[in-house]
C-alpha cells in the first residue's frame, strides 16, 4: 500500500501532542509524572513506528496524496457553515437562553439545508418538546435562560 501524504499530518500532530504534554509534565512532581511519562513515551514510540512504516511504504510502493480519498465528496461550504452554526449556537445559548437559541439555530440550519417548511416545523416542535419533557420535567435540569427566556 502506498504512503499517504495526509498521514504526515497525523504524525506531526502526534509528535506535537507528545511535546505539548511532555513540556507540561516537567512541572509535575516525580510521583505525579510517572504515569504521564509512560503514556507519552508509548505514544512517541508508536508514532515513530508508524513513521518508519510510512517510509518503508514510500520506498516500496511510492507516495500518493490521500487528500482525494479523505475528502472525497467534501462539501466545504456546507461543512463550514454547520461548524460555524454550532459554535454560534453555543454562544446564543449563553446569551439568549436555551429554547430561544435552539429555535434560531434549527431554523437557520433548516433554511440553509433546504428542509421543507412542514418538516422543519414538525422537527422544531418535536425537539423542543422532547427536551422540555425529558430534561426539564423528567430530569429537572435548569436550562440556561438568557435575555429572552
Amino acid at each position: 500500500m502506498k504512503m499517504k501524504k495526509t498521514d504526515i499530518g497525523v504524525v506531526v500532530f502526534m509528535y506535537a501532542f507528545c511535546a505539548f504534554f511532555y513540556a507540561y509534565s516537567s512541572k509535575l512532581s516525580a510521583g505525579s509524572k510517572t504515569y504521564p511519562l509512560f503514556t507519552i513515551t508509548l505514544l512517541f514510540g508508536l508514532t515513530t513506528l508508524y513513521l518508519i512504516q510510512m517510509i518503508i511504504a514510500a520506498r516500496k510502493f511510492g507516495v500518493e496524496s490521500g487528500v482525494d480519498k479523505v475528502f472525497a465528496g467534501f462539501k466545504a461550504l456546507q461543512f463550514t457553515l454547520s461548524l460555524v452554526l454550532t459554535i454560534v449556537y453555543f454562544f446564543l445559548v449563553k446569551y439568549l437562553g436555551f429554547f430561544s437559541a435552539t429555535t434560531i439555530f434549527m431554523i437557520a440550519s433548516f433554511v440553509y439545508l433546504k428542509v421543507p417548511l412542514l418538516h422543519s416545523v414538525i422537527a422544531l416542535v418535536a425537539i423542543n418538546l422532547l427536551i422540555y419533557l425529558a430534561f426539564v420535567l423528567f430530569l429537572g435540569v435548569r436550562l440556561p435562560s438568557g435575555i429572552l427566556f
Binding site: T6, D7, G9, V10, M14, F17, F21, S25, L28, S29, G31, S32, K33, T34, Y35, P36, F38, T39, I40, L43, L46, T47, L49, Y50, Q53, F71, G73, F74, K75, Q78, F79, S82, L83, T86, I87, Y89, F90, V93, K94, F98, T102, F105, M106, S109, F110, L113, K114, V115, H119, A123, I127, I131, A134, F135, F138, L139, G140, V141, L143, P144
Partner: protein, 512 residues
C-alpha cells in the same frame, strides 16, 4: 446455586416494575428508530442517551441503554429490507435476501423473519450472559495491582487493534487517550496535572462528554460534509408481517446455528455484529436444503443474519461486565454508562451489586419480547422514519449533543469539551484513527495508572513486580495476541463477506 436462582427470580420481579417496563419499551422504540436511520449508529444512539440515565436507578438506566442497543441492532434490518440500505453494518447481510424478498412483494414476510430471528437470537444470547458472566467475574477476583495494569493494556490492544484499518494507528489512538486520561487531579497524591488553569478539569475529562463528542457530534460533522441526498422511498407492502408454522419450522435450525456463532463472536473481544451477520448468513446458505433460493430472497438468509447479529448483544456484555473489556464501540459506551452510575465492572457486580446486575439481566431478557412486539407492530411506521433526511438529522442531533453534555453538571464548560471531542473525533475518523480506543483509554487509563503505581509502591519501585504473577503473563500474552488478532479477523471478515458476493452498493453504504 440456590442463591443464584433466587437472585435471578428477584431480578425478574424488579425488572417488571412499571418504571423498568417503560424503560424497556421506550429504549427499544428509540433503538429501532436509531438503527433504521442509515446515518446513525448504535454506539452513537447509546452515547446520546447516556445523560438521560443519570437520574435513574442504576438498573433502570442500564436497561434503557441495553434496550437501545438491542433495538438498534434489529432496527438496521428495516431499512436493509425496505430501502436496500442497512441502517447499521450489522444488517449488511440482511439486505442481500431481505431486499430481494421486498422486490417480490414479500416485504412483510422478510420483516417478520427479521423480527422473529432477532428475538430468538437475542433471547438465547441471554443464556450465556447468565451462565458465563458470574464465572468470569470469579476470575477477576484474582487480579491485584499489576494484573489490573495489564488488564487495561489488554483491553486497549484488543479494541485499538481490531477496530482500526492500521493496527499502529489504533494503538496510537489508545495511547493518545491514555495521555488525555491523565488530565485532572493525580489519583494518588492529588497534584494538579495538565489542567491549564481550568478548575472544571479537576475530575479529569468528563467521559460522557467525550463519548457524546467522539461518537455523536463527530457523526454530525460526517453527515454535514456530504451532499444531502434524498433517500429511496421505502417499499410499500401489503402482505402481513407474520410467519406461518412451516416457515418458523424451516428457519429454526438456522436460528440455533446463528445463535451459537453470534454468541461466541459476541464474547470474543474485538469481533462484533457486523462479522456475525455475514457468518450467520453464510452458514444458513451452507446448510440450506434450498440453496438455489439464495440471492433470490431466501427466508433462511434473513434469519441467519438477524439471529446472529442479535445473538452478539448478550455475549458482548460478558467481557465488559466481568473484566471491564468492551469488545466494540457500543459496549465501550455501555461501560461508560455503568461507570457513570458509580459501578465498576468486575466481581462486585455479582456480589455487592448482585441485585442490580440480575435486574439488568432480567431486563435484557424482557427487552427481547418488547423488541418482537414493537418491531412487528411498528414496522410500517419505522419504515417511514428510516427515510428521514440528513438535513433534519444534523441540527436535531447537534441540539441533543449540546443538551446532553450540558445536563451532566449543568455547566457550559462540558459543552465546550463535547465540541472539542466532536472535532477531534471527526478528524480521527477522517484519518483512520480509532475513536473507540480513545474512549476506552479514558475509562481504563485511571485504572491502569492506579494498578501501575500501586504495584510500584508495594515493590519499592521495582518494575519486575509487573511480571511476577502467572496471571500477569497470561494477560501479557493475550495483549500480544490482541495486537496480532486484526490480521486474523481481517482475513476472516473478508472471507465470509467475500464468499457471498455482497452487492457493492450495500457494502459501500455500510462502510460509509
Amino acid at each position: 446455586m440456590l442463591e443464584t436462582l433466587q437472585l435471578m427470580g428477584q431480578g425478574f420481579v424488579s425488572a417488571l416494575s412499571f418504571m423498568n417496563i417503560l424503560a424497556m419499551a421506550g429504549g427499544v422504540a428509540l433503538g429501532i428508530i436509531i438503527g433504521c436511520l442509515p446515518g446513525l449508529s448504535a454506539a452513537m444512539g447509546v452515547a446520546l442517551m447516556l445523560p438521560l440515565t443519570f437520574s435513574m436507578p442504576a438498573d433502570t438506566g442500564l436497561i434503557v441503554l441495553g434496550a437501545i442497543y438491542c433495538g438498534a441492532i434489529f432496527g438496521g434490518s428495516i431499512s436493509a429490507i425496505l430501502i436496500h440500505t442497512p441502517g447499521t453494518p450489522a444488517s449488511a447481510a440482511t439486505a442481500i435476501e431481505g431486499y430481494q424478498m421486498t422486490l417480490q412483494g414479500k416485504a412483510g414476510k422478510a420483516l417478520a423473519t427479521a423480527c422473529w430471528s432477532s428475538f430468538w437470537g437475542g433471547l438465547l444470547s441471554c443464556i450465556s450472559l447468565y451462565f458465563f458472566a458470574p464465572l468470569l467475574a470469579q476470575l477477576a477476583l484474582k487480579f491485584m495491582s499489576a494484573e489490573k495494569f495489564w488488564l487495561g493494556i489488554f483491553g486497549l490492544t484488543i479494541i485499538a487493534g481490531v477496530s482500526s484499518k492500521s493496527i499502529v494507528k489504533g494503538l496510537m489512538s489508545g495511547a493518545m487517550g491514555l495521555i488525555i486520561s491523565t488530565i485532572g487531579l493525580d489519583p494518588i497524591d492529588g497534584t494538579k496535572r495538565f489542567m491549564f488553569g481550568q478548575s472544571f478539569l479537576a475530575e479529569g475529562v468528563n467521559t460522557t462528554c467525550a463519548l457524546i463528542g467522539l461518537f455523536s457530534m463527530s457523526q454530525v460533522f460526517i453527515l454535514a460534509e456530504k451532499e444531502i441526498k434524498k433517500r429511496a422511498k421505502a417499499a410499500k407492502f401489503s402482505d402481513k408481517i407474520t410467519l406461518t408454522k412451516a416457515e418458523r419450522k424451516k428457519i429454526r435450525p438456522t436460528i440455533i446455528r446463528s445463535w451459537i456463532m453470534g454468541n461466541i463472536i459476541g464474547i470474543l473481544p474485538g469481533a462484533g455484529a457486523s462479522i456475525a451477520c455475514f457468518l450467520g448468513y453464510n452458514s444458513a446458505k451452507q446448510f440450506s436444503k434450498t440453496k438455489e433460493e439464495f440471492g433470490h430472497g431466501a427466508i433462511e438468509g434473513v434469519a441467519g443474519s438477524e439471529a446472529a447479529n442479535n445473538a452478539v448483544t448478550g455475549g458482548s456484555l460478558i467481557p465488559m461486565l466481568t473484566l471491564g473489556i468492551p469488545g466494540e464501540s457500543v459496549t465501550a459506551v455501555l461501560m461508560g454508562g455503568l461507570i457513570i452510575q458509580g459501578l465498576a465492572p468486575g466481581p462486585e457486580l455479582f456480589t455487592k451489586h448482585a441485585a442490580m446486575t440480575y435486574t439488568f439481566f432480567a431486563g435484557f431478557v424482557l427487552v427481547q419480547f418488547f423488541m418482537l412486539a414493537i418491531g412487528t407492530l411498528g414496522c410500517r411506521g419505522f419504515a417511514q422514519i428510516s427515510r428521514l433526511s440528513d438535513a433534519i438529522l444534523i441540527p436535531c442531533v447537534t441540539v441533543l449533543c449540546v443538551i446532553g453534555s450540558y445536563a451532566i453538571h449543568r455547566n457550559m464548560s462540558d459543552v465546550v469539551v463535547m465540541i472539542i471531542f466532536g472535532v477531534l473525533g471527526y478528524l480521527m475518523r477522517k484519518f483512520d484513527l480509532n475513536t473507540a480506543a480513545v474512549v476506552l483509554a479514558l475509562i481504563l487509563g485511571p485504572i491502569s495508572e492506579k494498578g501501575l503505581r500501586g504495584a510500584l509502591r508495594v515493590s519499592g519501585g521495582d518494575i519486575g513486580c509487573l511480571f511476577k504473577s502467572p496471571v500477569s503473563w497470561v494477560l501479557i500474552i493475550l495483549s500480544i495476541i490482541g495486537i496480532f488478532s486484526p490480521f486474523l479477523m481481517d482475513k476472516f471478515e473478508r472471507k465470509v463477506a467475500g464468499d457471498e458476493n455482497v452487492d457493492a452498493a450495500v457494502q459501500d453504504e455500510t462502510l460509509s
